[in-house]
Amino acid sequence: MMRACRTPRNVEICITNQCNLRCTYCSHFSSEGSGSDDLPTGEWLAFFEELNRCSVLEVVLGGGEPLLRGDLMELVNGIVTNRMRFRIQTNGLLLTLELAASLRSTGRCHQVQLSIDGSCPEVHDHFRGDGSFEGVITGLRILQKSRLPISVRVTVHKRNVDDLERIATLLLEGFGLPAFSTNSASYMGLCRQNADEVQLGVEEHSRAMEALLRLGDRYPGRILANAGPLSNARHWLDMERARKEGLDPFPDCGYLRSCGGVFSKITVRADGVIVPCVQMTHIELGRINRSDLRVLWQEHPGILSLRRRWDVPLGSFEFCRGCPYIPYCRGNCPALAYTILGVENHPSPDACLRRFLDSGGKLPRVS
């Protein structure tokens, strides 16, 4: 089994359950712990001291909407005092020049991440709510003016699958961003209730893959993906080529090794409960300032079980029986395996190539 770090390198913290939007596909709401009260400032500041003792390098501040916390700068200063850097994941609507200047003045802001899902209000606002496009674009301008490092995430869904080219033009040419990343609306949180309305069908998934690969050719290295249609397109094409040519297994494939997060990262819910991942909030490992993070990280059966996924061969699952792609597959996201099938240590159907093809999906044409 791959060895975990002695302590987590990166800790993602949902500092609030409050949000000024209610996006139709938000992965946060309707998940475990999303209805609880937020913790007071002092609890987080005490926890940051423990993170310092554990030599954690970076804290990711998310939510809900982290900018709703009136004590945000106090929390940021607590991170800085404890020798860490930070990222913020925000919808951007509450950004001001003053706040951006304060964040920049710390010298420790690694990135502010915004979500932009359309090139115009009609597309972006459809699932995020009226006025959210104007708000996030204003936020983007503020970040650029303040010279803060920016990351933009585009979540691909039914309503923006034909807007991807215009989104790329807006972000890469209009705003001159160096890059943006993509994923897709996944079967988590609120999306579970709205899946038919939001999630890509097989044909739309094929269209999204084609479009994003084309854009990737036009803007080399500037469209990124760790999940979703672009990631699938790149990986699935490699898998299909390998199957046809009978190539040797890909590194780390043939086992449940798709996610290495539990070897270096951990998450805390807004109620202080420590969980393995922001998308696996149902696995409660302990609570901040009560559990010893170092011990929990090294010994908790819940996290050890997820690390042991790495030793589980895909061939041991009925789901994978007879699949020609096993030597080139890592079994996909454990959180989606849980939300779809109710079990983490199982291949996820979500990014399964065989299932996609069996459902009538077509791989993109390669020029």
Partner: protein, 96 residues
């Protein structure tokens, strides 16, 4: 670096021990990292403001076996590298 030089780590620098007793030094102001081997970890831990380069080498000789004869030069080069990277500072005037 001179034998009597006194070197102190910058307070913001994080020593993060990874697997196999290796570690990284992390500067949160720049996000720069510097990988160090187990001997480097020991040296870094001995930078308490009271030990000179000579003291550190003496401590290593007490704790470890097979210490090379030019250990003082090796430790001096390592500390010089830390100072160059802004991860430590020289406290003795003219100590280099």
């Amino acid at each position: 670096m001179r034998s009597e030089a006194l070197v102190l780590p910058m307070p913001r620098i994080v020593l993060r021990e990874e697997t196999d007793d290796w570690a990284i030094l992390f500067d949160p102001d720049t996000a720069a990292t510097f990988g160090v081997n187990p001997m480097g970890v020991l040296v870094f831990r001995l930078l308490d403001g009271s030990r000179t380069v000579r003291d550190i080498v003496a401590e290593i000789r007490e704790r470890c076996t097979d210490v090379p004869s030019d250990a003082e030069r090796i430790v001096g080069d390592f500390l010089e590298e830390l100072v160059t990277r802004g991860m430590a500072e020289l406290r003795t005037p003219g100590g280099r």
